[in-house]
Symmetry: C3
Subunit: 200 residues, 3 copies
Amino acid sequence: MDLIYTLNIIGTFVFAISGALTASEKKMDAFGSAVIALITALGGGTLRDMLIGSQPVGWMLDPNYLYVVLAALIFCYFFKIRIMKLTKTMFLFDTIGIGLFAVLGVQKTLAFGLSPAIAIMMGAVSAVFGGVLRDVLSNRVPLIFRKEIYATACLAGGALYFGLTQTNLSETWSIWIAVAVVMGIRFLAVKRGWGLPGIK
Amino acid sequence: MDLIYTLNIIGTFVFAISGALTASEKKMDAFGSAVIALITALGGGTLRDMLIGSQPVGWMLDPNYLYVVLAALIFCYFFKIRIMKLTKTMFLFDTIGIGLFAVLGVQKTLAFGLSPAIAIMMGAVSAVFGGVLRDVLSNRVPLIFRKEIYATACLAGGALYFGLTQTNLSETWSIWIAVAVVMGIRFLAVKRGWGLPGIK
Amino acid sequence: MDLIYTLNIIGTFVFAISGALTASEKKMDAFGSAVIALITALGGGTLRDMLIGSQPVGWMLDPNYLYVVLAALIFCYFFKIRIMKLTKTMFLFDTIGIGLFAVLGVQKTLAFGLSPAIAIMMGAVSAVFGGVLRDVLSNRVPLIFRKEIYATACLAGGALYFGLTQTNLSETWSIWIAVAVVMGIRFLAVKRGWGLPGIK
């Protein structure tokens, strides 16, 4: 699954940039930025691995994840101003990352022999928990609890992925279709201002 | 232990309602409410299981916990207004939940071969950590650090439960007595405005 | 390694005092203070152990850690006013604690067969995560993300310790030298107002 590994690394890279930009807005120093970038990029997979009992957690066995976060920080340091103007590009990459992590999280959890409902949930956890930690550590109500439906998109995409694995479709196609659906829902949600109804 | 399982499910249900109501106050959408409900209901047991090394964490092996949280959310959606008027009923159920989780947490930790002091502490963690996470994610100082002595009640009830297991009393009676003591302390504390002295 | 164990206990004691004083500033009651003290003192090692898969986490197998935190709380309760005037003494002990935890974290992670880069990072996690949790639970942006370079000092000291273990130097000397370097960097950073450059 070399393709998946590559995309996973890309997702890590983009999430790290998202964390570093948030840290920068909060006027944190270089170390704080590195920590927030690391947590944003790796936090989701870490929680998933601790919950399902995959320890040591995945990224600790592969130093490439740390190098990718480091690369993202260096990238941010040099290209900060341009990235700010590339908001749409960032949004694209962020959405790709969420789509991938949502599907890869389902895959890993199923491989640990857990049930589909739990696997789909762990996919969403992988995809969004890093962003939740980023927001909590920056001392604000996590974005995910206030608007957007992107976690819901993760659940839908994760469920679709599980459904596709039960068919004759190849693993690669199952992943791509599910990732595309997560991305599609998120794009439409932002474009059309979709939201879920509140309880109130 | 069918009785215990049933009560555990009830505790999960009531904590989920508590989380959903908090999310609603903070004007979160349906997804945010679901996450907060899930975390409030399952957070304590999750931390306990990760600390004692029971992985995958308990609720991941039994989908009923997810269904109960879902049921609580649906219940909240339809009966929101009436629940607000049922504050006292909610307080009763919440207290039952805390009492049960405090005692069940002790039981599970002892079953993992850890010492009584640690087990009593893990009981309190099971009972209160979900509420702490709920408050942190809602961006406020956790209630437990500001007033009430209910965590202390958990420790007292947990210690009592351990003491009773060393006697000839049946497991069922040990649990009921300890749960009743936790509930009793909490009721009295709220009714009489008890608090612990601050360090200052 | 009796010396190390002793120093570890001292580090726990001092971090517990740091947590209790923070809780006191926030006007928390005795229980809240105990929880914050516990989390500040044991939080770093707990996260490290959950990440590397050392479960149950270390302090759960040795009740002395709980007793030390309790002793710190009693100490705070009786000597609060004097400690406030001993800020410099506290800073000294806090720095000793950070230095020791940074190095001991590297040692334990290497013993689990993980790579040096990960081990150095886990050393910093052991040293600073308790303080991060303390700040998050007190509802403020963690100090570490706003100023000081002490986590960077941990990484430098951890890397130095790893380097020294590759030489003929004894374990004891390697530890002392690395701890001294962490402390030295932190002292100089505070004295001279060092900071790391922000990304902005």
